[in-house]
Structure formats: C-alpha cells, structure tokens
C-alpha cells in the first residue's frame, strides 16, 4: 500500500514537471503545444550527449556530473522552446486555432524525426545510472536516487511558483493570460514574456528528461509522445493554466496509475490513464482547481 503511494508520487512528480510547461503555455497563449513532450525527449538526448562529451569525468562523481548536466540541459531545451515558438508559433498568432494546432503537430514531428536523423533510431543507454541503497519507510522501499530526483523536482516547482507569484515577470505572465491586448497597451513586451514562458516551460521539461534518462537508463526519440499525453492529462485533472492545480494533477495521475496498474495490470496502464482523461473532461472539464470561465461573445 505505502509502496504504491510512493511509486505514484514519484512518477507523478515527473508528470507534474512536464505538465507545468504545458499548462503555462496554454495559460498564456491558449495553445496546446504538442511539441512539449518532445522537449522532454530533447532534454534526455542533450543530457546524453553532454555526458558522452564529459567521458571519463563522469564515473568519479556521478551525482555531481548529473547535476551540472541538468542545469546545462535546462538552458539548451529552454532555448529550443524559444526557437520553436519564434519560428513556428509566432507567425501564426491571431490565425485560426486549427492552424496553430496543426503547426504544433508539425513541430512535434520535426523534433522527433530530426532527433532520429541525428541520433539514430535505436534506443540509447545512459552512461550514468544512479543507484544507491534503499531505505524502508513505513513499509515502502525508497531509494536514495528517487529521493534525490524528487527533491530536485520539488525545488524546481517551488522556484517556479515563487517566480510566478512574487516577481514582476510572473505578474506580466499572469496579466497576458488575462488580456494580451491590454498588456500591449500598458507597455508590456508581450513577445518577450511569451518567449520567457516557453523558455521556463521547456527547461522544466528538459530537466524531467535528464532525470528520466538517469533513472530509467534508456531513452529513444519517441519517448516524449506518451509523456506528453500524460502531462496533458495531469494538467487537465488539476486545471489547465493553473500552476498549483497542475502540480496536484501530476501527483494525482501518478497515484491513479500506480493503483490502476496494481489492480488492472501493467499492460492497461496507459488505457487507464487516458480513459480517466476522457472521463474527467466529461465530468469536470475545468479541472480540480481551474475556475469556470464565461467566454465573452
């Protein structure tokens, strides 16, 4: 029982980290960024490339190396997110929603198969495996690496929340989500804020990618597809566009999957998650913490 809860929370913190980027971008420009899951994949691959470049250095102190790589990867994926927004989404701002969605699908495709061209179609094995001794807490088996990764996730999420609620930058983001035109009139550089939002969201996804690489050990160019869907599910459960809601949604989805897997079998895990998504959209489309919005005619 407590093992199931722990597993759920652990996987859920990954979901939450990826879902945040989804949620932030949706909150600010109302775009479902299908390429978001692929930024997670890109993070895993850029981490892989950096570890490869560091070579022998890695062996000596793997946790420190992974931490350095994590930071560098966040910068790299963050910049990729900015470039995607600049090249693919910005020219279409104000275009019909359908065009933007299709562009997002295109961006996702380009990222996946672009990575395939560069890195090859076969899965890669991470050079660093985090392993450590396990602890027994209330009957659950918890490893040090899980604790470390979860701590990183929590730190990142707390930092994000502070950024959004306490800084000018965060206030500008919230303002744009409310009314981009008014922000323009008030002298806020909307383009810049949107770029930064993409940077932060993508960086978080990239961080999750590196952590997943280090934890699971194996990465491939399609790994972002399912996690993208899961992250969206998490965002919807919590209330898309709502930051604390999204974090909650990630953890809840992790728990649901953990219990679902236990009771209906692992091969049905994804079916279980997506069926839950459809159910949730039917019953409470605004999510647990999302507010009901009246769209003005």
């Amino acid at each position: 029982m407590s093992q199931l809860i722990w597993n759920g929370l652990f996987v859920g913190s990954f979901y939450a980290l990826v879902a945040l980027g989804y949620s932030m971008v949706y909150g600010i420009i109302k775009l479902l960024n299908f390429a978001h899951g692929d930024l997670y994949m890109l993070g895993a691959f850029s981490g892989f490339a950096m570890l490869g470049a560091m070579g022998g250095l890695v062996r000596s102190s793997s946790l420190v190396a992974l931490f350095v790589v994590l930071i560098l990867t966040m910068v790299a994926t963050g910049l990729s997110g900015v470039v995607i927004e600049r090249v693919a989404y910005r020219p279409l701002r104000g275009a019909p929603r359908l065009s933007l969605l299709i562009t997002a699908v295109g961006a996702s495709f380009a990222l996946e198969y672009g990575t395939r061209i560069v890195a090859g179609p076969n899965p890669k094995v991470y050079q660093v495996r985090l392993d450590g001794t396990a602890l027994h807490v209330l009957g659950a088996l918890i490893t040090w690496q899980q604790l470390a990764l979860m701590a990183v996730s929590i730190v990142l999420m707390v930092a994000l929340n502070l950024l959004i609620t306490r800084t000018r930058q965060g206030r500008a983001m919230r303002a744009i989500a409310q009314d981009p035109k008014a922000c323009l009139l008030m002298g806020i550089d909307v383009d810049k804020v949107i770029s930064r939002t993409f940077f932060i969201g993508s960086a978080l996804a990239g961080a999750a990618g590196v952590m997943a690489g280090g934890y699971y050990g194996k990465i491939d160019f399609l790994m972002g597809f399912i996690i993208g869907l899961k992250a969206f599910t998490a965002a919807v459960i919590g209330g898309i566009g709502n930051i604390p809601g999204t974090m909650l949604g990630g953890l809840l989805l992790g728990l649901l999957e953990s219990f679902g897997t236990h009771f209906v079998g692992g091969q049905w895990r994804d079916v279980f998650a997506f069926a839950f998504l459809i159910l949730f959209l039917t019953v409470r489309p605004t999510g647990l913490l999302g507010e009901r919005v009246t769209e003005r005619v």
């Binding site: 409310q178 009314d179 008014a182 009139l185 009246t294 005619v297």
Partner: protein
C-alpha cells in the same frame, strides 16, 4: 412577442444586468440605449441564449426560453446581428445568407447523398431566398465572391440579409450603424423601416441618437444594468432621469465621454 422579466446577469460578482424588464410587441421597433457598459449587449446575449442569465425570465411568444441554447432560441423565430460583425469571412456571400435558411430548408442527408429531386428543389429555393434578401438589403458587389473581400458597410448588409433569411419574427440588431458613413446610415434607416413593414419586430441597440429617435416606436434606456426609462422617443427625450444619465450632453459629446470611460475602465482592470 418578446418579454424580458427581471433579468439579472453577473460576471464574477459584477452585475452587468440588474433587474431589467422590457418587452417587444409584434411589428414594433424598440430601441435599447444607454451609455457604454450599461449592459445592453449583455442583455441581448441573454435574450439570444449566449449568456445564461443569473436570474429572471425570458419569454418568446409566451414560451419560456430562459437559459436555452442559442440555436433553440433561433428556432423560436429570433434572429440577430452582432456588435462586432460576425460573418463567415472565408465563405461566399450567397453561402453566408444561406446560413439563415438552415432552420427551414427541407433537405435530408439522404437527399444530399443521392441528389434527389427534393435536394435540387431545396437548393434552388435556398439560393433564390438568399438572392431575394441580398436584393432586399441592396447589396452591391460580387455575390459569388468571398465576404471578406467586401467593404465593411456591405458586410453589414450581408449580416442583416443572413438574419432575415432566417424568416424571423423578431430581429435583434446590435449597433447596426456603427462604422457606417452618413449616406449608409440613411439607407439603414430606410432598411429598418422596410423590415418592420414586413411584420418583423425589431429590437435595436444603437448609439446614433438621430437614428434611434427617428425610427423607434419605443425607447428603453439602461444605466448600470438598470432600466431608467421606457416609452415613446419624445417622452424619453424629456425624461429628467435620462437627461441626467445620458442625454444631458448631446450625442457626440456623450460618445467622447463614453470613450473616456472605456479607457478608464481598461486601466482600472
């Protein structure tokens, strides 16, 4: 025809419409006026089902339609235009007006798949009807071309023709004169009268006081979501409450003032 009773609408605590009651009789032209933000368009959106009122009743021909979806209210014989012009830009002018025929055109999917005589007949009927209303509103320009290629004033005509092709009993016009020049306004005045002569009741939101006073049978004045006067134009014009709220300055100055209010409102948010 239309009865609105004690209508209330709030957006997260802000009362946009606060206990509004008014009616439109058959074949009558009723104007709803008031300063910007008085709740006119919100009231229209409640009547046509786009907003769900917080409280109150809306009846059409005696039948309660409060909170029903817009298409159902349209099916009851209500048609409308929008304040900020909602035409189907990427479709032809004729197709736009054909939208109005949707509710009464007798054509089933099977007819369309097999191109039965009924399909041909109904398509011909729809096209004739569309052309008839385009003639009626006096559209100038290519009817086979895309609507977005027409000048603004002509697009407004298309929107009105579309609403008329619905063959409504009640037509709601939301600021039809906005953005029109002097000559076009005169044509609009004439058009509204001709629509009334067809026996269609009209509810009109308008800022152009000249037009309102000229065309209306009755004028309802709103301020802060409340009705402050209801009567024939001459009576409303002399009503002290109205003068105080709205007509004390002449129309042009009121518009300047209203624009100022809008800017102030945006800054406040």
């Amino acid at each position: 025809m239309l009865e609105v009773e004690d209508l209330r609408l709030s957006f997260g605590g802000v009362l946009a419409v606060d206990g509004l009651s008014f009616g439109v009789g058959a074949g009558e032209i009723v104007s709803v006026i008031g300063p910007n933000g008085a709740g006119k368009t919100s009231a229209f959106n409640c009547v046509t089902g786009f907003y769900k009122p917080t409280a109150g009743r809306i009846r059409i021909d005696g039948a309660d339609v409060t909170g029903r979806r817009p298409s159902l209210i349209a099916a009851r014989g209500v048609s409308r235009t929008f304040q900020n012009l909602r035409v189907f830009g990427e479709m032809s002018v004729l197709d736009n007006v054909r939208a109005g025929t949707h509710l009464w055109l007798r054509q089933r999917v099977v007819d369309a798949l097999l191109h039965t005589p009924r399909y041909r007949r109904s398509e011909r009927e729809g096209t004739e009807e569309a052309n008839k209303w385009l003639d009626f509103v006096g559209l100038r320009g290519d009817r086979a071309g895309l609507v977005r290629n027409l000048p603004y004033g002509e697009q407004r005509r298309v929107e009105i023709a579309r609403a008329l092709a619905r063959r409504p009993k009640l037509l709601l016009l939301d600021e039809p004169a906005a953005g029109l020049n002097h000559g076009e306004k005169a044509e609009l005045l004439d058009l509204i009268r001709r629509i009334r002569d067809l026996g269609i009741a009209i509810a009109l939101i308008e800022h152009d006081m000249g037009l309102v006073m000229e065309v209306s049978d009755r004028v309802v004045v709103l301020n802060f979501g409340r009705e402050i006067a209801d009567g024939p134009p001459e009576q409303v014009r002399g009503d002290p409450a109205v003068i105080e709220a709205y007509l004390g300055r002449d129309a042009d100055e009121a518009e300047v003032e209203a624009a100022r209010e809008e800017v102030g409102g945006a800054r406040g948010e």
